[in-house]
Amino acid sequence: MRGRESFGMALEALRVNRLRSALTMLGVIIGVLAVVILVAVGTGAKDAVEKEISGLGTNIILVVPGRLSVGAAPTQSKLSLADVAYVRRVVGDPSKVTVSLQSGETVRVGGTEAFVTIVGTDQNLTNIFDRPVDKGRHLSETDVDTRRRVAVLGSEVADKLFGDLDPIGRQLTISGARFRVVGVYGKVGQTFGVSRDQEVHIPVTTAQRLLGIPRVNGIAVGASGPDEIEPLQSRVVAALADRYPGEQFSAVTQTQLLGTIGSVLGMLTGVLAAIAGISLLVGGVGVSNIMLVSVRERTREIGLRKALGARQRDVLSQFLIEAVLLTTLGGMIGIALGVGGALAIQALTPVPASITWWSVALAFGVSAAVGVFFGVAPARRAGRLDPVIALRAE
């Protein structure tokens, strides 16, 4: 018997038992659906975080005091503006080094208040980070040198405090001190769930005086190219360790950040896929179960086919193809629903979802494999039936 004949017979058997075939497939459909959607959501989350990190700018090295670790409180900073100048000399290009001193403060305009992140920084910020201004200007070198009370607002802060008014040239109060708005940043969105549009940038020198802190929180260095990142990173860390023997400094690059977060989210995606895979396996057990019932129910049919000249392998392949058809059809429906579901999630909810070809291929391959694996036992049983006993069965 040719393969096409077995295929036709199997398709016919599934068609005849439509409801049962559909219910059996349901298990596989749900499993494949779950794999495709969960992997899409996991991958989407990873993509979104990676986009946020690369949205910061390119080739950035962040230098912070202490050891960078999750769970521990950040080390009290010992870095000062003198250290920033030192790092500038180490790096060689002063314009590629900027600084940050952050503090949560209340800002006020007339009767309107907002709690924002005050970031003390300098004119070099925009040489390193992608932070275009929408209106007005960036902080200037003179602003920093002369400790001007000027501020550049994040877009959300500008909206909240000034509404439809043009904020440029207007006054606002930060911790009781009056500042003049010189610029408004364009919308940049979130990084790690923190909105960077809720920041207010002022000169770092002004910030030190305002907050009464002679330190800075961190230094950011921009490398001139991807190949420059690592040598520059070790040079800066070594130089700081030289200056402060016994102290620890950490420098992280975007690539390292991406790698760490990517592997965490990748693991998460893997776990999700594995859980979904278990449901696919359960679906396979359902297929096995139904095929066993089907073999029992069609014992007389099998006996007759054998009497008419069906060989063991003809009967075996008929039932095996039936099982594989069940799971692959279920797999295809599951993929269609999963892709549709992922697109719907993407369109209708803030959860990012990104369909990957490998999850689709894997889901399909696994469902076909499940069909073979769980179909073999029932099909062998069918193939080995003794025709005399099978013909007598009721």
Binding site: E5, V16, L308, R311
Partner: protein, 235 residues
């Protein structure tokens, strides 16, 4: 007769294990069915006639003894070769028809050809001819549930014939039919035997049915009690 007999059994025995107890269904049966012969195996239930039919039809293997089908000793054949032998040499007609439900008469008749690897167009052509030869040219696309018992048994006969077998084994072919349909089916087997020269072996417990055959083989307690052919030869 120069050609090998259609079926030739020498001292066939068949023992079953039934819940640990050995049951001897056949205790040494020898018989020979010539090409084109029409014989009836008759006996009460439990006599071993069904077991004999299963052995003659190569659906089962004897515990001991030899069986030659068309001159071929079947004990040397593998299961796969036996399946091919059944497909090419033997046609079956069963008491309960054994048609595939939800499958048209035409497809039911064509089924043996599927296992022979015959192409679809050729299969349909031959199945149509077989159905016409049993007077069911107007029932090609009907399903078993849409046909009477007599019609279903005729479909089964067409299926047995489509592969042009040498031997047709009919196991109580009229058992589930009324008298009129039963007579019609028997007439059809008669014609097949006389017109096409197919050897027919009829298995029945009814003496009236067995009368159709020119030779009666009486089986009782796993042994041949009386074979009219042997008698004739002896006389």
């Amino acid at each position: 007769m120069t050609a090998a007999p259609a079926l030739e059994a020498v001292d066939l025995t068949r023992r079953y294990q039934l819940e640990g107890v050995a049951v001897e269904a056949l205790r040494g049966v020898s018989l020979s069915i010539g090409q084109g012969e029409f014989a009836a195996i008759i006996g009460p239930s439990g006599s071993g006639k069904s077991t004999l039919m299963h052995l003659l039809g190569c659906l089962d293997r004897p515990t001991s003894g030899q069986l030659r089908v068309n001159g071929v000793e079947m004990s040397h054949l593998t299961d796969t070769q036996l399946a091919e032998l059944r497909n090419k040499t033997i046609g079956f007609v069963f008491q309960s028809f054994h048609l595939l439900a939800r499958t048209t008469a035409l497809e039911n008749v064509a089924l043996p050809l599927v296992y022979r690897g015959v192409g679809k167009a050729e299969r349909r052509h031959r199945a149509r001819a077989a159905l016409e030869s049993v007077g069911l040219g107007h029932r090609m696309e009907h399903r078993p549930s849409q046909m009477s018992g007599g019609e279903q048994q005729r479909v089964a006969i067409a299926r047995a014939l489509v592969g042009r077998p040498k031997v047709l084994l009919a196991d109580e072919p009229t058992g589930n039919l009324d008298t009129r349909n039963g007579a019609e089916v028997m007439g059809m087997l008669d014609r097949l035997n006389s017109e096409r020269g197919v050897a027919v072996v009829l298995v029945t417990h009814e003496p009236e049915v067995a009368e159709h055959a020119r030779r009666q083989i009486h089986v009782r307690d796993g042994l041949i009690e009386l074979d009219t052919a042997a008698e004739g030869r002896g006389a």
